[in-house]
């Protein structure tokens, strides 16, 4: 048993003094299969013969009316079973419910209008994914673009384009709250310190994408769906309503393994509706595996948020009151469970601090971006970025040590359980001790010296701090804080967090555990084996754990699933309760057999024995199997000992009260982080020099897994702080569509943190444990930001900390261009291309003019032009193939001429669209006669490009577009010059000329 060192030691001993399994870092039961290619992820599981494969056509536009979708050619394509559009899906389903009271619909596919780039527009189901994608290419969707709304603050402008008529000013909710008496405190405060932050969009992007396999049985009118969904299973109710079946006719199952989620796989649910509807429409099982481009563009994102946070501050740095103004951007649809991101932290808006007076204004806004959903940290990164940046600003403005400011405000150690101003019940902790230990064990003194030394050497170095409470086990009722008390009364109470676990004993006495925790790689099965082994005196190897969920057969409830860091505090504890109940009954059975009382019975080493006389014992399996083989032998009143299902929900999770106090979570861990960051003088890249993270997550069940969660969250937080952003252009084009643009940190970007622990058990959870998986996603981004703020002495920090954004702060104004060089006009992040150029054409202006207005000449001049149709003398359509290198696409083009000033100038306005994207632009061409019958053609253009090509080829797009526009004019020059261009050579030399034009023309 080389693989399980120590694993059978306890079994042999049979002693009750054995060290508990809980608290040991035993090897994971999950690993052998995962390390050997025997994992069973959704795409590894075979499907029924005849299963169809789906592919999805997605909107290239951020906001547009769908004018027409022609699916005729796609339907005829090889291997295609069906092509479904929004109207088809609408006929089979109902709208997804929306989390606020408003007359809006939310479909999993665009119906009539697209509202974000990447929104599904049509789907093909075919015999293979390859064939389905072939048919997608044959669908001809036509759009009429609408103005896009990207900035959440501007979305609320009266003049902004509306996404949904039911959300006036694009605002889905606007609630104000008051706790304590903040106004007079702000009015009287000698000092108010404020900060405004814009938290960016990002996502935890699991390496495995979404997957769904759906079937429909028309006989029973029932759906059977396998999906790598992670919960919460409150979504099951949303799904059955959307699919228009009772809950018992939607069987939702999860595969044994899931390749990470971090919240994100909650967002698979709209696709469950799509695939289920497709299965119903075709009468065959339908499978869909999301690809990476789909995932980045359109799966789910964390919310971006604009927050203004003000504090009334006493001279000593004590924060007397807070005033939050949060504008939450949920993207194009308010999908369940949003606006939960905004309210998840509501109870702990005062963080780790004792602040009694709080005002809050929360607005939820829709914009033309991918809808948001669960993401590790869920609301925490957004809240703490504001709160902890503010604490840093308070220290700077008061010229005090940030640690002193944090310490002064921490919740006192003797105050637990501590009720926050907004209603959370902070369960346990000793924040002062945690901070003190982190400062000493993490080497803050040495770090300060290191900063001094670095600065003395002219290096850019800063130190940042954060204190955070990490909520876990969400109150299912916190979301209703978005409703008014009256609305809540009408809707009925929502609260609690039902966890379930089932222990089963088989006829040979083997123990199985089944839970509804839906692990996504965290090792739940290992920990549950530890927990149950301790109760039953067995070894983890004796316990078999199944964590696949099947809503048709398993015990589950709306709170089931893998989110809100609920496994260790809730699910593992519930398994303990189930095991203890079973053990209690087994003890009575054993007591009868061993002639003793049940409270004399103990379980250890695979035996059930008398504590007083350990030799009086029976093998566990014998007692355990009794209920199968001889139920009559069990003492009366025991019932069976075959199966025990425990449900557990903490009484502390009450619904929001009428004053909107809400205990939004059950447990609150504590984190204190600090770090030293150096900014490279040349590259401006912030480098984490030293990172310390102190955690108090209550009782630790498996130290290596806890550290794994900390490191994993920390690595994702480094991504959020320094690299990752779901970026949008002002026109709503999505710009981070590949893993070459959405930058996940690699091993080279993640220095190892120093992890410290303290264990203050939670009084509210069965095992004393609290969640730990999300904390660093909350604490680390702002800790790094605070260090950079300290290094640069600046107040405004925007994530991700792009080195290029730091240039001004570090270097001031740029070295001027030498005289004669013109600075380019493009603005950061803007997708507009503009340019100009000129060419000499050996023809008179009249001749060039005639060419410009002649379809046949245009067809000859425009590279890849197949046909030009003249609708009027100023209106042309054309089919063109545009290619740069291997990238070729067919486009429909429309060109309208205006401002005709024959033969001196003309304005061309045009747009093109095709499978790879769309572009629109306007250009003015002027013709000026020169000597010798030569005309100087000058052009100036302004263009915009969007769609797939913008999201996956952004880095190369500008240059490619310039090249294409240049080709047109090179063609014009060539045609007019009378050259009969052979292939290649002439074009090449024309391009060479162009290159010099571009080089010098700007």
């Amino acid at each position: 048993m080389g693989e399980f060192p120590g694993m059978n030691v306890n079994a042999a001993a049979g002693a009750s003094t054995a060290k508990p399994w809980v608290g040991q870092s035993i090897p994971r039961v999950e690993d052998p299969a995962l390390l050997s290619g025997r994992g069973r992820f959704i795409d590894d599981i075979g499907v029924r013969p005849g299963t169809l494969h789906a592919a999805i056509l997605r909107s290239p536009h951020a906001h547009a009316t769908i004018v027409a979708i022609d699916t005729a050619a796609a339907k005829q394509a090889r291997g295609v079973a069906a092509v479904l559009t929004g109207e088809d899906i609408k006929a089979l389903t109902a709208s997804l419910v929306v989390g606020v009271k408003a007359p809006v619909e939310c479909w999993p596919i665009a119906v009539g209008r697209v509202r974000y780039a990447g929104e599904p527009v049509a789907m093909v189901v075919a015999e293979s994914r390859y064939l389905a994608e072939d048919a997608i290419d044959l669908i001809d969707a036509q759009y009429e673009a609408l103005p896009a709304v990207i900035d959440p603050v501007r979305a609320m402008d009266p003049g902004a384009a509306l996404l949904h008529n039911g959300f006036p000013r694009n605002t889905a909710s606007d609630r104000s709250f008051k706790y304590g008496d903040p106004e007079p405190i702000f009015a009287d405060a000698k000092r108010t310190i404020a900060i405004t932050i814009r938290y960016p969009r990002n996502s935890c992007t699991p390496i495995e994408t979404y997957g769904v396999i759906a079937e429909y049985d028309p006989g029973e009118q029932a759906y059977d769906v396998l999906a790598n969904f992670q919960g919460p299973f409150s979504i099951h109710a949303v799904l059955s309503r959307a699919l228009k079946v009772p809950g018992n006719r939607l069987r939702l199952r999860t595969p044994p393994d899931s390749g990470g989620s971090f919240g994100v796989k909650q967002g698979v649910f709209p696709y469950i509706v799509l695939m289920a509807a497709a299965a119903r429409a075709t009468g065959r099982p339908v499978k869909w595996i999301e690809d990476r481009l789909e995932h980045l563009t359109a799966s789910v994102s964390a919310t971006n948020r604009v927050t203004t946070l003000r504090a009334a501050v006493a001279d000593d740095g004590k924060v007397l009151a807070l005033d939050w103004d949060q504008v939450e951007d949920c993207g194009a649809h308010l999908r369940a469970p949003e606006p939960a991101t905004l309210y998840r932290m509501h109870g702990n808006l005062t963080g780790a601090y004792d602040i009694r007076h709080v005002a809050v204004r929360n607005r939820v806004v829709v914009t033309n971006k991918t809808p948001t959903g669960l993401n590790r940290g869920f609301g925490g990164p957004q809240v703490y970025f504001a709160l902890e940046r503010l604490m840093q600003r308070i220290a700077v403005e008061l010229k005090r040590d940030p640690v002193e400011i944090i310490s002064r405000n921490l919740v006192p150690a003797d105050a637990f359980p501590y009720r926050t101003a907004t209603g959370a019940l902070l369960d346990s902790g000793n924040y002062q001790q945690a901070l003190a230990r982190a400062v000493s064990e993490g080497g803050l003194e040495a770090l300060n010296a290191r900063r001094d030394q670095a600065r003395a050497e002219g290096r850019i170095y800063g130190i940042g701090f954060t204190a955070v409470v990490e909520p876990s086990v969400s109150n299912m009722g916190y979301i209703t804080t978005v409703l008014t008390a009256a609305e809540r009364r009408k809707a009925g109470p929502k609260n609690g967090a039902q966890a379930t676990a089932t222990i089963t004993i088989d006829p040979l006495g083997g123990v199985s555990v089944q839970v509804a925790s839906v692990p996504q790689g965290q090792g739940h099965r290992t920990v549950l084996a530890q927990v149950v082994a301790d109760v039953l005196g067995l070894t983890p190897a004796d316990i078999r754990v199944n964590a696949e969920l099947d809503t048709a057969k398993d015990a589950w409830s709306i709170a089931s699933g893998n989110y809100a860091s609920r496994f260790a505090p809730a699910v593992a504890g519930t398994a303990k309760i189930a095991a203890e109940r079973l053990a209690g009954r087994l003890a009575r059975a054993a007591a009868a057999g061993l002639n003793t009382e049940s409270d004399d019975i103990a379980f250890a080493g695979g035996f059930v024995f008398s504590k007083r006389n350990p030799d009086n014992k029976s093998p566990f399996s014998r007692i355990a199997a009794l209920s199968h083989w001889s139920p009559g032998a069990l003492p009366e009143g025991i019932g069976q000992t075959i199966r025990e299902t425990a449900f557990w929900t903490p009484p502390e999770l009450t619904p929001p009260d009428d004053q909107d106090h809400v205990n939004s979570s059950l447990c609150y861990g504590f984190i204190f982080d600090f770090c030293g960051v150096e900014i490279d003088r040349v590259t401006l890249q912030p480098r984490i020099d030293h990172y310390v993270t102190m955690h108090d997550c209550g009782t630790i069940l498996h130290p290596a897994m806890v550290d794994g969660q900390v490191r994993g969250g920390y690595a994702q937080a480094i991504g959020a702080a320094l690299y990752e952003e779901y970026a949008y252009a002002p026109d709503g084009s999505f710009l981070s569509g590949t893993f070459a643009d959405y930058l996940l940190p690699t091993v080279a970007e993640v220095p190892e943190p120093l992890i410290l622990h303290m264990q203050t058990p939670s009084p509210f959870t069965p095992l004393g444990s609290k969640g730990v998986g999300e904390g660093n996603c909350m604490s680390t981004p702002v800790c790094i930001a605070n260090a950079v703020a300290d290094a640069l002495g600046v107040a405004d920090i925007e994530l991700p900390l792009l080195p290029a954004r730091l240039a001004e702060a570090v270097r001031g104004a740029e070295m001027a261009a030498p005289s004669g060089t013109k600075a380019p006009e493009t603005r950061h992040g803007d997708r507009r291309l503009s340019g100009e150029g000129s060419a000499k054409v050996a023809a008179s202006p009249q001749q060039v003019w005639a060419m410009l207005l002649d379809p046949t000449t245009l067809a000859a001049v425009i590279p890849g032009c197949h046909s030009v149709k003249k609708l009027s003398h100023t209106d042309f359509t054309a089919i063109v193939t545009i290619g740069i290198g291997p990238v070729k696409g067919r486009y429909r083009a429309r060109i309208v001429l205006s401002d005709l000033d024959k033969p001196a100038g003309v304005t061309l306005a045009g747009n093109v669209d095709g499978a790879l994207g769309f572009g629109s632009g306007k250009g003015r061409i002027t013709l000026a006669p020169e000597t010798d019958g030569v005309t100087a053609v000058h052009y100036r253009y302004d263009a915009e490009i969007g769609g797939k090509i913008a999201s996956i080829g952004g880095r190369l797009l500008d240059g490619a577009a310039r090249l294409i526009i240049g080709q047109v004019f090179a063609g014009l020059a060539r045609q007019a010059g009378g050259d009969t261009p052979a292939k290649g050579g002439v074009i090449a030399s024309a391009l060479s000329k162009l290159r010099s034009l571009f080089g010098g023309g700007r």
């Binding site: 995962l34 290619g37 992820f41 795409d43 390496i207 393994d257 990470g260 990476r292 996940l744 690699t746």
Partner: protein
Amino acid sequence: MTRMAAEQRHRIRFTLNGEAVDRACEPRMLLTDFLRHEIGATGTHVGCEHGVCGACTVNVDGRPARACLTLTLQVEGSEVRTVESLADRQGRLGLLQSAFRRHHALQCGFCTPGILMSLDALFARRANADEAEIRDVLTGHLCRCTGYAPIVRAALEAAAELRGETNREAVDA
């Protein structure tokens, strides 16, 4: 000249984990899809299909390769190895796999097969690979769960064992 028409299946022969494969596929069939859905070797995972994440990394003729950026027909006559080759037939983990397990160098395990295959290829070529080389190879992989530190530790320990500096078998026994 052997021209293989687009929508027909063409014979393909190579060696997979020491065993001969003799099958057919269309020219556009990616090696990932062929391994997973034609052969049933689902240990090689698909994470991005544009060569960045590394989950699909296999060994082709002793070098690591992105199976998602490889056409099946390109490996004609090659020796392909996948994660399924690392444990023995009884399911006993190999040295590198064991090190991963000891160090908790995986959580969801989705990226792991690719990482193992990259390290396996590295150690086969460079028995003395140092930490810098290990880290350089690992930059070709994205892991979203572990924060990488335990992966580096596991790889270093496996490398030391391979060099015979520690004898894990003896320690375990």
